[in-house]
């Protein structure tokens, strides 16, 4: 592939200071390149550095050393305001704890990023209607975030992150607060935008989410211990009980 990678991290390191001033390495020399249209799932035990890594890639935390390039642009040397501009233009981020604007409606929360990026009000509204519809939230458009359940807020956060059709979607446990029916809506939307070419890098424990990805990156103690394709095994039409049984070779 000769296209500019959407993400390129080079020897990325993050060391926190513990309460007693001791250095705590969270990310230890990560190299990661993500090509346009790729869907990468980052997995690993708690404390392996997954969340730190995705926060570094989104500029929500500063790296200790190493380089971050987003869509061909050096990002790790940017100021906080430089990052804010870059994120607004290129990155949608779904946090573990949503970060919705409390005094705006759901509809406005979702439209805001598109409007900030210069979309026409009509385009922003259409995109918002499509995303809320896909996530089963159409009738919550006029509500305030505080009136929503955790699962609803999480889905609004995903809609907001996708409003802009960002160059890169970053997400930290995007199904962490969802029951299985709502997870299904999120899975369907992620699969759909991915098929439309959306580049996605997300942290997940949820095997269903990881199963949508093209590639899995596994972290252990702040280092990548596995990075490879999730190969499609076989394709068969239908969806009967027999298929599942056969899949498991019983």
């Amino acid at each position: 592939m000769t296209a500019t990678p959407v993400v390129r991290a080079v020897n990325l390191v993050k060391i926190y200071q513990s309460g007693r001033g001791l250095p705590v390495p969270a990310v230890r020399g990560v190299d990661l390149t993500v090509e346009p249209g790729e869907f990468v799932a980052i997995m690993g035990p708690s404390g392996s550095g997954k969340s730190t890594l995705i926060h570094l890639l989104g500029g929500l935390d500063t790296r200790t050393s190493g380089e971050i390039w987003l869509d061909g642009q050096r990002a790790d040397t940017l100021s906080e305001s430089g990052w804010a501009v870059l994120r607004r233009e290129k990155v949608g981020f779904v946090f573990q704890f949503f970060n919705l604007v409390a005094n705006m409606t759901v509809a406005d929360n979702v439209e805001l990023p598109a409007l900030l990026a210069g979309a026409s009000p009509r385009h922003a509204r259409e995109r918002r209607e499509y995303l809320l519809g896909a996530l089963g939230l159409t009738d919550r458009a006029a509500a305030a975030p505080a009136q929503l359940s955790g699962g609803e807020q999480q889905r609004v956060a995903l809609a907001r992150a996708l409003a802009n059709q960002p160059r890169l979607l970053l997400a930290d446990e995007p199904t962490g607060n969802l029951d299985s029916r709502n997870t299904r809506d999120v899975l369907r939307l992620l699969g759909e935008v991915h098929r439309q070419g959306q580049t996605i890098v997300l942290v997940t424990h949820d095997a269903r989410v990881a199963g949508l990805a093209d590639r899995v990156v596994c972290l252990l103690d702040g280092q990548i211990v596995d990075d490879g394709a999730i190969v499609k095994r076989r394709r068969r039409p239908g969806g009967t009980a027999g298929d599942v049984v056969e899949l498991h070779g019983r």
Binding site: A41, A207, C218, I230, V231, D243, G249
Partner: protein, 168 residues
């Protein structure tokens, strides 16, 4: 059973009873203790297939005992067993045995086995996602079966992560 005995013999030659004891001591009381007759029958078949050979060792005041050792063909069969991904929840124990035994024989390290197995589970999950998407939304049996398989896979993945954290 065949591959378990081959793995033990890849570590060192042994006679039947030593193999039984080795299985018991490695897997502890949770492992159903193999019947000695079954072990000898399996060894006989392995020998017939050319995967093991035996030599008679004389013992004072007792009948000779047969000590088994693995052949090149046996090692190859074992290598295939170690390398191929392990299917489905029913044979999860088999994966665990690979995980415990393979590093002892120097055939593979645990990290490589765990990573290979994780990718395998995720590709199964990928198939299940596609099946779920293609399934008739009114066919509850099919959907539940898919969901059940997904939950098994989730548990398998969580457990792999635990193995990765806990085993050296």
């Amino acid at each position: 059973m065949r591959q378990l005995l081959l793995a033990l013999l890849a570590k060192e030659p042994a006679h039947g009873y030593e193999l039984k004891q080795a299985l018991e001591s490695i897997f502890g009381s949770a492992y159903p203790s193999p019947n000695i007759g079954q072990i000898y029958v399996t060894l006989g078949r392995l020998e017939k297939d050319g995967y093991v050979r035996s030599v008679d060792v004389e013992q004072a005041n007792r009948p000779n005992k047969k000590v088994y050792y693995i052949t090149a063909a046996g090692r190859e069969s074992l290598e295939n067993w170690v390398e191929e991904p392990t299917e489905g929840p029913r044979v999860r124990d088999e994966f665990f045995m690979k995980l415990v035994l393979a590093p002892m024989t120097g055939l593979s390290d645990r990290m490589a086995l765990i990573n290979r197995q994780r990718r395998h589970y995720l590709s199964l999950m990928r198939d299940l996602n596609e099946l779920a998407e293609a399934a008739d939304p009114d066919n509850r049996v099919a959907l539940l079966l898919i969901e059940g398989a997904m939950l098994h896979l989730q548990a398998d993945l969580d457990w792999l992560e635990r193995c990765q954290e806990e085993l050296p």
